[in-house]
Symmetry: D2
Subunit: 291 residues, 4 copies
């Protein structure tokens, strides 16, 4: 298939590589072109603007945030103008519910398709083609995309027929993740402040919950292993804000998101924005007077 | 071994039965004696007061709350007065940190041993001898108890040498559980209020976290299956209060426990106290205006 | 002085009338022109578009929210294009800090002046020329405006030289007001739920604080007098959101604003949006399970 | 009248002095007897135990907290045993609702009267006989006490016929005070973090609310004048805990009290416990990352 791929960051690059390996013809674009080099030797074509990558029947976007996606779609050389009728824009990043709704409407107005298909999984899962993909959009369109999704991920969950639905689910997932890290941070602080070895608590939690995901973050908290990588605290803050905005849209207050936002903001103000989300535990301790 | 066993509720009864099956000689006590009948045919001796069950080298207690434990220990015919020197009191219920500290001190003053060994697991796990036991106390004493713990549980985690430590860990476990149910309830409400099938969100969460524990509670929330049984909402409120009290003792504020307490209190005032903890999701929705 | 006045709602109309009475020549604009009629018989000129009202040396705006102000300034027939060089735009409504900053920059780029001068006081105070005006902007410009402010208000507090400063102060004022109503609502609920006459608590609070403002809102809470009028709950929610946005801009989390927002959203979802802010007390009770 | 007076701290001493000046015969008791010396030269009799002061028809207590009051009443040489039938115990300190209820019952069982009459006002108001007294108890008993209350205070508000009612009202008052200081602290932090002179905000708030009480605390926050004296932060924390306990008793969650408690605990852990309640603003800033 002739595919455009925009956004070659730590997630986008291995995803594009997998599509290439699966035999697809790829035209790639990234704001700093040098990131594309590893793909070019494998046959990818480098586009000099998003609009060039947009001239294909399927265009993936995997960019940092709403602002980046808006620029790629609506900018001077954006894909909205260059995409052919009937072409599909597959947005795989985490974006706001309102942008998902706007893109749905504006692609539709031009006879194009929009699919939201955000992913769960880190760069190593992306490289292994082991992502979890939560897709929402027109049923037939999703059927067309199925082989591509199977190249990228181990599991595809179809959320519904309206793309914004996948955006909500992704934000609800990240909201839950941040809340669990917040909860573990507080529980762990109680344990430590009570003079108990946090490793013992970690052992209990790992055993009771038997969740690789929970154990991973809990271990980072206990080991104070906050080096950059994984899910950055400032991105978690961004996503919590998007979850709150989604809540505003659905007229739902989210007190836990408010609480996590307060602590994430404290974390950023203490210089932890680039650290792993697990560094939220430091902000939690600071708010408790344990520093 | 000659064992006293006090408290034959939904957890204590199967635990006592397992000790009996393992060949130990049991003297049992329960406030309403009829609960003891199934054990008597298997050879257990019925005590007419806690003090009688207390006259053995090891005395287990598995009662409802601090008040019940205080009455069993300090009451008119309590075990404190009847336990021989060198005997061990093994408290397996969830109790306050302050009571754990007080029992440690007062048993010690009489030359007795106190061990806190609260458990994770429901009545079916108790019946199967598959509990998780978090034990804290004197090292040699724990070694003595090891075969008994192995009869009762699949895993013994030694938390430390001071009994209060196990009390803190148990409360931290339950605080985490309540927090996760609170978080899932809020995320689920966002999903529903956004017009999305909550089953889809459940599917994503189950997949991402891969935790039987999380999936069990999330399913109860999605199915609105709140019938009594499992972990009652009013007991969760009791444990959150104990966690807050433990926080006060350690000078640690726990904002998430405060938030959960507010919603659990709302749940109780709406008549959900006897329902499963998962009914917290109803209180969360009410606080959001979604009812 | 030749003055343009845009926005003739419950606040703007009496303010414009006072300027007219003081002998100024007024060109007025309102989206629904009929609101202007009372002024025309006193000599005001009716503009058919904001741009017409904008062709004067001083242009006041007193509109509902950011959106209305943006339309009046940046719209097709907005004042930004029509205002002469050196003219002054005096914004007296409650607007976001970011819009205040943007207006400052864009008026400056065209050689125009921008002053933010939000007010405290209700329609009756506006009619009596008894508003409190919090003004921020260029010192000389404020000196020019002083006689006009004295016509409109009893007290002018100069906040600083940058207009956004008055926007922050206004939001901080309203945030404090909402917080105090939230606090009184909770305290009052405790009193009522304890079986005590809320009038007695009102009497104590009135006496201890001796604040007409606090007593007014407390009385509305006690009397459950929530009929529309005064400060509407949904406008309070809008302002709390603007305060939170100002907090985001200044990197300051505001947990009390988060809490009030949760209860205000609950109030709106229970149909109280049009009621007085004092109706927040009903939402607070609902969140407590007291309804 | 023959009066016993127990508790000669910064409040009790000037109150006792006023009763003496008004011609009453006083038997006084204080844990450290030296505090009583100024009164002895004016004719007061020094009791060597609470029981001695308790042998009068009216006994005032003005002590630090529940623990102190329990010791004075129930202790070895407590007043419960020494008070004559028909005598009145007037508790003027801030105590828990549950202790107020217990004292009501136990005094009644011995044919004695119990009145709760907590006060608002600082030591200078106590010295000037300008306290505000919130009294609850038997109507005829209150009538008997009226002349004494008029000697001590400028205003007597009769809350109801059951003593616990005055305890609730006092806690609701202090809860409101702490909440207002919390709200002002947050609003003030927003103003400062936005680069605005906090004096300007203080000026607006003073003008809008016109409350000497609010202005006093706001000024302390702005001036960072936290020297000991007035209402100590750790006592505010104690009272917030009592308000939360009152809420538990009335089945009312108080989220604002939870929030204030978190910040007051942070304040104590930062060594601010002895400072004025206004130092809560430092804890608020710390929790926001502004320190």
């Amino acid at each position: 298939m002739d595919i455009g791929f925009i956004g070659l960051g730590s997630m986008g690059l291995p995803m594009a590589a997998n599509l290439l390996k699966a035999g697809h013809s790829l035209t790639v674009y990234n704001r700093s072109a040098s990131k594309a080099h590893p793909l070019l030797s494998d046959g990818a074509i480098l586009a000099s603007a998003p609009s060039e990558a947009g001239r294909h029947s399927v265009v993936f976007t995997m960019v940092a945030d709403d602002e980046a996606l808006e620029s790629v779609v609506y900018g001077d050389k954006g894909i909205l103008a260059s995409m052919p009728k009937g072409a599909i824009h597959v947005s795989m990043s985490t974006v706001s519910v309102s942008l998902a709704k706007r893109l749905t409407k504006e692609h539709e107005a031009r006879g194009q398709q929009f699919v939201a298909a955000p992913v769960m999984g880190r760069p190593d899962a992306a490289a292994a083609g082991q992502l979890r993909i939560m897709a929402a959009g027109d049923e037939a369109t999703l059927a067309t995309l199925k082989p591509l999704f199977e190249t990228l991920g181990q599991q595809i969950i179809v959320i519904g027929s309206d793309p914004y639905m996948a955006a909500v689910i992704k934000l609800a997932n990240n909201f839950l993740l941040v809340s669990v890290v917040e909860a573990y941070s507080q529980a762990n602080a109680l344990v430590e402040a009570s003079g108990i070895d946090p490793e013992k608590y970690f052992e209990c939690v790992s055993s009771v919950w038997a969740s690789p995901m929970l154990s991973r973050y809990a271990k980072l908290v206990v080991d104070e292993a906050f080096a950059p990588g994984g899910f950055k605290l400032e991105l978690a803050l961004k996503d919590v804000r998007l979850a709150l905005a989604a809540g505003e849209g659905a007229k739902v207050p989210l007190p836990l998101a408010d609480l996590a936002k307060q602590h994430l903001m404290l974390g950023v103000s203490r210089g932890l924005g680039e650290k792993d989300l697990a560094a939220l535990s430091l902000a939690v301790k600071a708010a408790m007077g344990l520093d």
